[in-house]
Symmetry: C2
DNA sequence: CTGAAAGCGCTTACAG
DNA sequence: CTGAAAGCGCTTACAG
């Protein structure tokens, strides 16, 4: 190392060039294997050696600045605690890496920032695009006056007026679930839904209604119990459902998280699943298989969504409209939380129920 | 907008300065509210207006380059699917934001990259420091020849020869759990451990042995069943434990994920928890409360670890040694998966207990 | 094919 | 207090 090389913390292209006896343009071209570079093997070796010896690492900021491109994408999720996002991240991350980029994910909740604020902070120049997953509140980003110049794409979430989203076929998923229940012979099927304002919840609800209608089944008003995609919410909503004078024999739950709560509610009230009430939920999780009973779910192509979203974001230019209902196949994962209903028309009182 | 302003995609400091009739140095100083700037309120207003009208956003890459500081930190975790990391991320993220920085997290598994490769890709200049959580394989980063110039800190993981870590008191956690079990009267206590190579697992095992010794309890060889911190692993290991000729009346599980599997194993074999076997696990999860029975756990200060780690990383310089056993308090969360052991040697049928 | 040089958009001593 | 200018570390037309 020359004194120059050790002077600053970082070894630069110039340092490498100097040591290799070439110009930094050559080193740059070599590193990026630019087609316009024909270098003698011997020189190439010298450069490589210099890089090696100096431990040269390109500076991403400098590179980003001069190319106006960072080779990084951002993903903002509401909350790392919700396991559903893990799969989305995985999908997006692996395709980012495949594109020789990196995916940086952050959460709004964890940071205490709104998605828009987070996006601002991520700032121009740090990422080439932003994926916004399940943002309840896209506040600011939807405003045309939004400050962020970074192209974005909403994942599984629509906001009126923003034509930049890719969503899953939530209605289809609901249909799959409800059809499963009706084919088992259920008639009294309730829906433990998501937050009324979330459009995924709205679409799942719509799918439920449609499937019920198609099966010529009626929906008592109190059979639709909105919750909030959390376990506690699911637990509470399920308790309400269970207390109905004419309780459902099956419930279609809008999210696994809520389903876990719902399952717990049933169990703790001595109501057995699936004997007394069947449960099927949207979204599959590794965990679902380990509950007692293992949960029947509709597997949504979450990883694929993340992958597709990143791809779309990387391809299209910032101003293009993207309004896609992602068609990757969903799948009913049959486990043990659904079964044929016990004989209908029998008085409920014949069932032993207890409150805690 | 002048033609210049709309020409390029991005509005620059110069554009703002031009419109406000000042120099870009002034705008820069204003934005960063540099103390050496005393500007007339009227001029300030003009600059602000220009920023507003132009929708100016500072370019992070340029800023990073000129300051050699990115105001961003990276966090690399093995896998987003493991809910334990959610809390760590949360802690690190909120303290990053409090420092006016941003936390970028990525996963090794999701990306298919080793932590070292990921760190390389994140590159110099993109982040000011890297937190490495639970890296099983720190391969490369531990090498002194490592290419990354970014200061890093290992979170809850030690690698021989690297004096850059902060760990939790895993031994203490194990003691807490085992003491709980012995105080309940258990004598045949098994340990469903983590991967033998993971040092967290080693420390939990050590804690278990120590606590058992302190209680003058012996540990049959087959009472130590290593698993892999996953539900499947926990399930398999638990089955082995349950099949023992002299099975334990309680098991201390090294991770919640495994505990979920263990619980499932017991349940599906008709063995009731806690009546026939008590289960206590390290790490608490929101979910633990919703299992049947709700899991008794040792809550570790995960968020605090993330927060402390980020702080440490941000403070100390890259070459300093950081070897901290983080002392934030742990807590036994008593739920329903542990109980007094059934009378030993008595037939199981003699016990009558019901839930809720 | 390769070198010299300008430029990416900021920040910040250094002079006025 | 503020302006002019150099510099952060790269990339890349543009000439040789």
């Amino acid at each position: 190392m020359t004194e120059n090389e050790r002077r600053s913390g970082s070894v630069t292209l110039a340092d490498v060039a100097l040591r290799a006896g070439v110009t930094s343009a050559v080193v740059s071209r070599l590193i990026n294997d630019s087609p316009s570079l024909s270098i003698r093997p011997e020189t190439r070796a010298r450069v490589m050696a210099a890089i090696e010896q100096l431990g040269y690492r390109p500076n991403a900021a400098a590179r980003s600045l001069s190319r106006s491109k960072s080779d990084a994408f951002g993903l903002i999720i509401p909350d790392f605690d919700n396991p559903v996002y893990a799969k989305i991240i995985e999908g997006a991350e692996s395709t980012a890496v495949a594109m020789n980029c990196v995916l940086l994910t952050g959460s709004a909740v964890g940071s205490g920032l709104s998605p828009a604020q987070y996006a601002e902070r991520l700032g121009n120049g740090r990422v080439d695009g932003l994926l916004l997953a399940g943002a309840e509140d896209a506040g600011g980003l939807d405003q045309p006056s939004s400050r962020s110049r970074v192209p974005f794409l909403m994942l599984n979430r629509r906001v009126p007026g923003i034509d930049r989203y890719i969503v899953l076929d939530d209605e289809g998923a609901a249909t799959l679930a409800v059809d499963h229940l009706t084919s088992l012979g259920h008639q009294r099927i309730a829906h433990l839904g998501g937050p009324v304002r979330a459009d995924t919840a709205q679409r799942r609800l719509a799918g439920y209604r449609r499937a019920m209608k198609a099966a010529q089944l009626s929906i008592p008003d109190d059979y639709v119990a909105p919750a909030d995609y959390t376990a506690v919410g699911g637990m509470l909503a399920m308790e309400r459902l269970l207390k109905l004078s004419d309780p459902p024999t099956a419930v279609f739950v809008a999210s696994v998280a809520s389903a876990i709560g719902a399952l717990r509610a049933a169990t703790s009230h001595g109501i057995s699943v699936p004997e007394q009430v069947s449960i099927v939920a949207v979204h599959d999780l590794p965990l679902a298989a380990f509950l007692s009973p293992p949960l029947t779910t509709v597997r949504m192509p979450l990883a694929e969504l993340g992958a597709r979203g990143l791809w779309l974001l990387a391809q299209s230019d910032a101003s293009a409209k993207i309004t896609e209902v992602f068609g990757a196949p969903m799948q009913l994962i049959l486990r043990e939380s659904t079964a044929v209903p016990r004989r209908t028309k029998k008085p409920i009182s014949s069932v032993t129920r207890r409150k805690s």
